[in-house]
Structures are given as C-alpha cells and as structure tokens.
Symmetry: C2
Subunit: 170 residues, 2 copies
C-alpha cells in the first residue's frame, strides 16, 4: 500500500512542551533542583512520578534491548496501558523515535512523531496511546520503569490504513 | 591520617550474587524474560521493585550528574534511606564504584566495595547502608528511581576512622 500525502507524519524534535500532553521528557536540561552528596552531584528531581493502578500492581524496573527500525516508518499500530505509566530511558546516547496520539473517544487520533536528542528518555502517562519502542539504525538498550502485576494492561489499536512517519525531507 | 592495612577495602567486580544481600544489579545479563513489540524487543523484566514507605511517599524518576572521585578513595561516610529503595542506572558505559555495608545493630559494619562493568546499575534496598554516588575519573549521568515525599529519609554514618577503598594493586 502506498501512503497518500495526507497520511504522512513529519518527525519533530522532542521537547518537554510539545510532549506535555502525553507525559514527561526525562533529561538533564535547565538548572538542577538541588545538589547532594556534599555538592558532588546535582539532581533534576522527580521529573516523572510513575503511576500504577489495579490490584497487585507495583512499579518495576526492567531492562530491554530493542531492534532498530528504518525511516520512513510505516505505522500500523499504537498501544496504551490502562493500569500504569511507562518510562523508557536509553542507555546509549543515540536518538530514538517517539510516537504518541491523543485519545479521541477511545481511539487514537492523528499520531505525532518526535525524535529524541540522544540524551532524552520519555515517560508515557497511563493510558496514553504510543508506538512501540523504536530505535533507529542500530539496536538500543533501555531502562524501563512501568507496572508489573496481574490485570489486563495492554490495549492495541491497528490503523485501518498505516501512517507514514518520515523526516521532512523523506 | 594514614590508613592502616586493616582499614583497606579491596574492590571486587560487581555480581548479582555478591550484591544480593544489599539489593539488585540492574543489567542485561542471562536470557531475557520475554519478547515484546512483535519480537522486536526483549525484556529483562522486573529486575527490581522500588519500595516506598511513609505517608505521602511516591516513587519518582530523577536524573543526576555526578562529579568523579579517584582511587584509592578515603571513605568517611555511608548513608541509608529508611523510607525507600534507591536505584542508580548510569547513562554512559563507564564503570562506577558501589560501596555498601551490612547493618550491625543500627550501625554499618565493614564496608564492601564493588566496581560495575560499565553496563550495570544498582538498586539499594530500603535501609541498606551505602556510599555516595561515585563515578571514577570523569563525570557521569544517572537515572535515579527512588522516593519523593515528606519525612526524614536520610541517615548518615560518619566513620570514626576512614576506610581506604582501593584496587588490589593500589
């Protein structure tokens, strides 16, 4: 299937402001909140507060290794987690692609696509539609902070027609 | 003050087994627990479960930038957090020093020192005595998962005589 022009989603740089409707950007940016360890360390504090709901749910720290994708990317699927937020922090200084969509009556609206700057992670708030973990060009490792526990914590939405995620000049 | 031979603490490689009394090693090691994202990613799942107690406490995700130390290191201080666990994951592939001590009647016993392999983080369990964040040779950034909220969550112990943390050949 070839993508029509109106199915193209341009990738924008990830910024805290642009991402605010969907969650938090995890990055060392701006002045630190406080020093600790007798001034030997600075903290950008509590930039995201993991949210976990549902009986038996707990915050968990996991690790992941993800295979890369290539641009332009055909986006067929987004997902969301009704029982908890989900944070991804890259463990190597490489950008990755972040796709989110506002909810429109229980379905995802038009997706938005962001490219991290290589030092940024993201925290998707609970129930925010988002794409899969999407490194570009090479495999990438991540720390994940999300929910573990019983319950159905995954909703997937398959688009009837895929979107084409691309750089402006793709 | 010069250190006596019996005050020397030799640095050992960090392993999950050796660290088990104190917390969890956060690393991609051994077989993954499951695949996700249609097989494009593997997860080493729930390797640590952050613990938060005390009224108004929440798990928080923070970032930190820490100045480096040099070996041999004079260890004057350890600390612990009675209201929550504390995880540190390095965002660059450089080793850092991990110092912990078993509790002996409310005071830290003889410290133990470990060097990470560059891809490891740690989660200190609640109330485990540990040293400050200790990169070596150059500044290092970390993701931190620990407690935010009201309450007195810091106990420090100053050693009457410092320990000398050193490599075997130092």
């Amino acid at each position: 299937m070839s993508a029509r022009v109106d199915e193209r989603i341009a990738i924008l740089p990830l910024t805290a402001d642009a991402f605010a409707p969907f969650g938090e950007v995890l990055e060392i940016a701006g002045p630190p909140d406080f020093a600790f360890n007798a001034g030997m360390a600075q903290r950008w504090a509590a930039r995201a507060l993991p949210e976990v709901t549902g009986e038996g749910g707990r915050v968990a720290i996991s690790l992941a290794r993800a295979e890369p994708y290539r641009l332009p990317l055909q986006l067929d699927l987004v997902e969301r987690h009704p029982l908890g937020s989900q944070a991804f922090m890259p463990l190597s200084a490489e950008p990755f692609l972040v796709v989110v969509a506002a909810d429109e009556g229980g379905r995802p609206g038009r997706p938005r696509a962001f490219l991290t700057n290589g030092a940024q992670g993201v925290n998707y708030r609970r129930n925010v539609w988002h794409g899969v973990l999407t490194p570009l060009d090479r495999p990438q490792d991540f720390l994940i902070v999300d929910r573990t526990g019983p319950g159905d914590n995954l909703q997937e939405h398959h688009f009837a027609r895929p979107w084409l995620i691309c750089t402006d000049d793709a």
